[in-house]
């Protein structure tokens, strides 16, 4: 772990004392390891040597103040808590299973299509995206024909949604963590959650006692409404919260 060769005669628990373990001066330093290597391996060591020194510099510059309690003990604190959570949680699953046994429908019959075909609830959002054929753009050049089949459009909509979620960390950077610190991204999140729910409802539109057109409009309107509301609320709360956070921060690390 360390490259220092200042082994003393104290009994040490890190295995660097006398015994079956070779003495520390047999462990090559980064420099020695680097010099033994060629090509990419050498490059790796050169970079690591550098990274190590940068870490060391950062540590020396750091104004970090040690606290009284440095870690949360694994035993008994963490273990007892985890066991309690585990027991509670497994118990919850067992309770649900005992009270609500699953359904087994009629056997598969290719010749009779049931009136209601539904996937499990967690696929409703994806199922809803498959039913967006109405939004599939028609091109005037093609004589009002659709650019792609409705179902292709639905599959593409799924890919677009997943892709949008995937690139979030590459768009939103910085150290802000709490929703109040970044009302815009929190609003985007609320928009997404609401949209997932409304599109799920849209996927079961034949079961919802509501005008289909109205339902479709609401599907796309509601997310914007909830997003705007959460943006406004967070923006309003922001000042007070930031004041509080800053006060706590500066109490912990007084400005020089």
């Amino acid at each position: 772990m360390s490259d220092d060769n200042d082994t003393t005669d104290d009994v040490r628990t890190d295995g660097s004392g006398p015994g079956i373990v070779p003495p520390d001066d047999e462990v090559p330093t980064w420099r020695e390891r680097k010099e033994r290597k060629q090509g990419l391996a050498r490059l790796t060591y050169e970079y690591f040597e550098r990274a190590r020194r940068e870490d060391q510099d950062l540590r020396q510059e750091s104004s970090y103040v040690e606290r009284d309690v440095l870690g949360f003990p694994t035993w008994p604190h963490e273990v007892i808590r985890n066991l309690a959570i585990t027991c509670f949680f497994v118990g919850m699953i067992l309770f649900l299973s005992a009270t609500l046994p699953p359904h087994l429908g009629a056997p598969a019959d290719p010749s009779s299509t049931p009136s209601i075909i539904l996937p499990d609830w967690y696929l409703y959002w994806s199922f809803g995206l498959l039913k967006l054929g109405d939004l599939n753009p028609e091109l005037a050049i093609l004589g009002g024909e659709k650019l792609m089949a409705d179902r292709t459009y639905g599959v593409l909509a799924n890919i677009v949604v997943v892709g949008a979620i995937a690139i979030v960390p590459f768009l939103n950077k910085g150290s802000a963590r709490r929703p109040v610190e970044q009302p815009f991204w929190a609003a985007v999140g609320v928009f997404g959650v609401t949209f997932a729910m409304t599109i799920a409802v849209l996927s079961i539109k034949n079961l919802v006692p509501m005008n289909t057109k109205l339902l479709q409009d609401l599907t796309f309107l509601l997310p914007f409404v909830t997003g705007a509301i959460s943006y406004a609320v967070l923006k309003t709360m922001r000042e007070g919260y930031m004041y509080d956070l800053n006060r706590r921060y500066y109490r912990l690390r007084p400005p020089k």
Binding site: L70, G105, P119, V155, R177
Partner: protein, 264 residues
């Protein structure tokens, strides 16, 4: 070799000065990108010291390594969702292995062996209904926990800079969880399963260019047959368990390495 202090942290200039080939440059860029996020150097050093010293020590837990104090408890119940989904995954794996003793994926028979076996589990087998119930509920709970886990990560900004990789792995995992659920949904081979399978075939057929190939690969044809059930079974009990378990291990391993992102 002496490096000037002034260009520390300016890795791109350092790289330019070294006059590297394309291979070296690409390699070093990836290495630096990963190292900046995961501190690969620490783990490589650990392995090397194991090699040189042969004595093994446990790495520090994230609470020790990052000196987390009670800030860890902030929004704590929401921070347990990842653990919940892992736990539900384990419960589902155990009950699924037990169900595997009694289920067989065959469409032959009247109405089909698969359906008859599930009916046998539900009606004749001692505690069989409980077994299937546990399997189904743990799957449902796992999916719910995974969705909520993703929301928690989003709203506490935990996907940010050093953790993009884990966010991407998480997206793959949530998708695979849903594939897990879908393949499992098809196994009883009842009406719902059959017609959900039909929708799946149509979905994959509508993928541009690769559609027919995907339908052949996943469903074994364009109509639902024995091949479909067999493939869903193998996906559900063989392929996905290995892939998902590995990904979960990597996902949690990265959390261990990087520490928990606190909302502060």
């Amino acid at each position: 070799m002496s490096l000037q202090k002034k260009d520390d942290y300016d890795h791109s200039t350092w790289m330019q000065k070294k006059d590297l080939t394309v291979v070296e440059k690409t390699y070093l860029t990836i290495l630096m990108w990963l190292d900046k996020r995961l501190r690969v150097v620490d783990y490589l050093e650990l392995l090397e010291n194991l090699y040189y010293k042969t004595n093994l020590q446990m790495p520090k837990s994230h609470t020790e390594q990052y000196n987390l104090d009670n800030k860890f408890w902030y929004w704590y119940p929401l921070y347990a969702l990842g653990f919940f989904s892992t736990l539900a995954y384990v419960v589902a794996a155990v009950s699924g292995a037990l169900l595997g003793f009694y289920y067989s994926p065959a469409t032959t028979g009247d109405p089909s062996t698969a359906y008859n076996q599930v009916a046998f589990i539900m009606t004749d087998l001692n505690f069989g209904y409980m077994l299937r119930s546990i399997h189904r509920w743990s799957a449902q709970v796992m999916t719910a926990a995974v969705f909520l886990h993703m929301l928690r990560v989003y709203f506490t900004g935990s996907y940010k800079e050093p953790r993009e990789l884990n966010w991407l792995i998480g997206i793959v995992l949530i998708s695979l969880t849903m594939v897990f659920g879908y393949t499992g949904y098809l196994l009883p081979w009842d009406q719902l399963a059959f017609w959900a399978g039909q929708i799946g075939v149509e979905m994959s057929l509508s993928i541009p260019l690769a559609g027919e190939w995907v339908a052949q690969l996943m469903f074994g044809g364009f109509t639902l047959t024995q091949a479909t059930l067999q493939r869903m079974y193998i996906l559900h009990v063989f392929l996905l368990p290995f892939v998902v378990t590995t990904l979960i291990a990597i996902h949690i391993g990265i959390v261990w390495m990087q520490g928990i992102a606190e909302p502060h």
